[in-house]
Symmetry: C2
């Protein structure tokens, strides 16, 4: 079978994995999905900061940060435009949830071709659905990008065509995120984005947009957002590290808007500022 | 490195896995942990029923049930006493949460030596702690044995020594289960066990004990159980497919009991009835 991707396990190209590893048995690890553009990983610092926070939360004793960064940059040198996915997996092959005391981490890198989305997604906006599936509240896993992703898999099963993304609420009717993105609402000269302290993934692009908005003189309020507030807003967009920013043009059959002016402004500024935007990833 | 386990991927001994598989990227699959005793898999029917329910919940299109059962029995023939772990993993190696329309499942089997626990665990009982970690409520994933197990990994980090198991509550102070077991309370001539409709794994041994109790004339009430109710009980035990039944002798430093008479009776009856107990696994 021809494959349009390549991978490395602990630096070894095309290496394979024993199925007794903890990452398979429990999803015991973290991941990052990064964009390689002109042989450079966009926002690498922020991705590594999130990864570090994830290691702290899961108590994974990974130490080789400098070697990891060097390996990532070395791989990026080979691609002009690609997706680079990193998995950081706690080592161990024994039975039982208790990790070995000497457990460290295995790094799995894979490179995929760049995604090709219609340009209209970024200019005219996308259609999204409100998923029936609700996210659980689990503060201990909120914000970080861990490998237990069955919630996203189940939510993504709700449609095959007709939507570019699904928005996820929690069981308290709060808007949290998209299945693969974060969401912002524009409220006059201010941004709103959901607090992610009980569920959701705190996105690297989300942190970039908050910093970019600040540079442009716009504050961002991070707080709980009810579904009713989303449906009452007149400008809203999603973001992630691969797509950048996409305006939301329609939510199910009940909400419609054009691509908004603040969203377009942020998109233009993001393109300009991509490589020299100060700031750090963080989780509230 | 010498290994004390063997494994098969889709029937091929010692085969290895591409790290781009969905089971690694998302934990997109299910598992069963079974006991092989005298070349026979204990309660295989119930394990397969739970696996079928899990496939329905996750919408995994696995069809080869007869071939799977034959493979399991064939492997069991080679071992007098062992642990047999099965992973059922949705196929697919592409990026994105949407599964390929043609996705089926890959079966990973691994055999481990039988665990050796001190006999006193079953006779005198064990010490358990009430974990600080709380389980999230997610009805869509409750009851089934899916591969997203970071909650158990985090809970199991709370102790290294001094306890044989940790009990998990949800965020509403309800007792749900142990990290690797289910729990029962004895209330006169009746059993109580937590409802598992919003979190927890509905254990095969739990279903066996409910059926065994019925045969012995004891009813089992399945409902929400508050921590206060557990602490007020005077006989309680945990169970799973490998350990059978272990009495709880101590909960943290606040609750102590001897191994109770109903627990001992159930243990004795379980040993006798192991292979010819009627009933089915089920999830409420």
């Amino acid at each position: 079978v021809s494959q349009d991707y390549a991978w490395w396990i602990d630096g070894k190209a095309g290496s394979l994995l024993q199925p007794t590893e903890r990452v398979l048995q429990y999803g015991d690890g973290l991941f990052e999905t990064m964009r390689i553009c002109n042989r450079n990983i966009e926002y690498l610092d922020r991705h590594l900061q999130r990864l570090r926070t994830g290691c702290e939360r899961l108590a994974i004793g990974f130490e080789d940060w400098l070697a990891l960064e060097a390996e990532l940059n070395e791989i990026a040198q080979r691609y002009s435009d690609a997706v680079l996915k990193l998995l950081l997996c706690r080592t161990g092959t024994g039975r039982g949830y208790a990790a070995p005391e000497a457990a460290s981490a295995r790094i799995i890198l894979s490179v995929y071709p760049p995604p090709h989305w219609p340009a209209a997604y970024a200019t005219n906006g996308i259609s999204v659905r409100i998923c029936d599936f609700r996210l659980a509240s689990q503060p201990r896993l909120a914000g970080i990008k861990h490998l237990n992703r069955l919630e996203q898999v189940l939510a993504r099963q709700e449609w095959r065509k007709g939507y570019e993304e699904g928005l996820l609420l929690d069981y308290n009717d709060r808007v949290i995120e998209g299945t693969m993105s974060n969401i912002f609402l524009v409220d006059n000269n201010r941004l709103l984005t959901p607090a992610l302290d009980s569920s959701g993934v705190s996105g690297v692009m989300r942190s970039v947009i908050i910093d970019l908005a600040a540079v442009l003189g716009m504050s961002t309020e991070i707080r709980n957002i009810a579904l009713s507030e989303l449906m009452a807003s007149d400008e809203t967009f999603i973001c992630n590290s691969l797509i950048g920013i996409w305006p939301i043009a329609a939510i199910d059959d009940t909400w419609r808007a054009g691509a908004g002016p603040v969203t377009a402004w942020l998109q233009a500024e993001l393109r300009q500022n991509r490589q020299h935007l100060p700031g750090r990833w963080y989780v509230e």
